[in-house]
Assembly symmetry: C2
Homo-oligomer: 206 residues x 2
């Protein structure tokens, strides 16, 4: 039996494990969960993941893994995306945690209420400036860090790049000006040039 | 040369790598950074970690690792705190990310402005209810998850327990009522009964 990935179309978090699967040539069953119609909160899905969150992976032996970066790490283990060096591995975790605390919590809701469901934008008008400010601070840190580097950690492309790229490359849709972060822009082009790269819509059928 | 851990006294994040070091019997140089007097933002420390954050580890070969859970993972690798099973490892990451997104960002500031620097509490009075509400939601998820379990993931005590325990066991100091989470309480007692356990003040000299 193959792994089964529950994913949401359009989601930067769901994109991460899907890109790992594509670039490592692994087979996996994809199961769409329509978050917009409440499918991630219905009784059927809550039996699979009681947290009601996607992406979620059921492994080939029937165990569950949540959190996009943990799923991406799991799928990338044993490939060049997770190098053997213990310090490099820890630095991958470091940037995965940075992504989930400084980028995703700001870029994702700004994008959701600007681009995915703009009809709800006015209801969240008071929160938008905070997301834009905190997300911009995170992108600034990333830009400074990437300035002298080719990829996030170590000597090449790793699952840290995929994790950080997940929402960064969608930030314009949330109202962030990526032109202000030139090192981020050059790095995104390098990610897009890696073998097997495909964009979000190609990887996550709606 | 030994690893060098930059830590802040009283910090739940600094406590995590310190407990790993103690329970795995590793030697490490400890260097106190007094966050309250701005030492983490002075020129000397910014040369070590440009993010100005503690804990921070300089490994024995001179490389830097940030983010408490990434440092804890690094120090725990090769011990029973990080089991070999790939799914268990991914589930450890899953709960480390949960801790940094649902628990720490709420419990830590509530505790800081209630217990560590109560003189600043009034300045943050408007934010406190949000931290208490979101942190309580996180503790509720943790309580439900732990109800049928001995430890966070797999069959025994892992670095996921240390990561999640870091701020959870300090939550009362932030105004959270831990009596409302009985499974969390029983689990904290199990963590405190593991060999080599020591409390925060013993591990992080002020």
């Amino acid at each position: 039996m193959a792994h089964k990935l529950y994913y949401a179309p359009g989601s930067g978090n769901s994109f991460k494990p899907a890109l790992v699967l594509r670039q490592t040539g692994q087979t996996c069953t994809f199961q769409k969960v329509d978050v917009l119609t409440g499918e991630s909160r219905n009784a059927e899905f809550l039996k699979i993941n009681s947290r009601g969150q996607v992406p979620y992976l059921i492994t080939s032996d029937g165990r569950g893994i949540g959190e996009s970066n943990a799923i991406a790490w799991y799928l990338a283990q044993g490939t060049s995306l997770v190098p053997d060096d213990p310090v490099t591995r820890a630095q991958i975790l470091q940037w995965m945690i940075f992504e989930q605390t400084s980028l995703e919590p700001n870029i994702s809701p700004a994008r959701f209420f600007t681009h995915i469901v703009p009809s709800l934008r006015d209801q969240h008008a008071a929160e938008l400036p905070g997301w834009l400010e905190a997300g911009s601070r995170g992108l600034g840190i990333l830009d400074e860090y990437l300035y002298p580097r080719e990829f996030m950690v170590g000597d090449g492309y790793t699952v840290a790049d995929i994790a950080v790229y997940g929402y960064t490359h969608l930030a314009e849709q949330g109202g962030f000006e990526l032109a202000r972060y030139p090192a981020v822009g050059r790095w995104m082009q390098r990610v897009q040039s890696t073998p097997g790269y495909a964009n979000l819509d190609a990887l996550l059928p709606s």
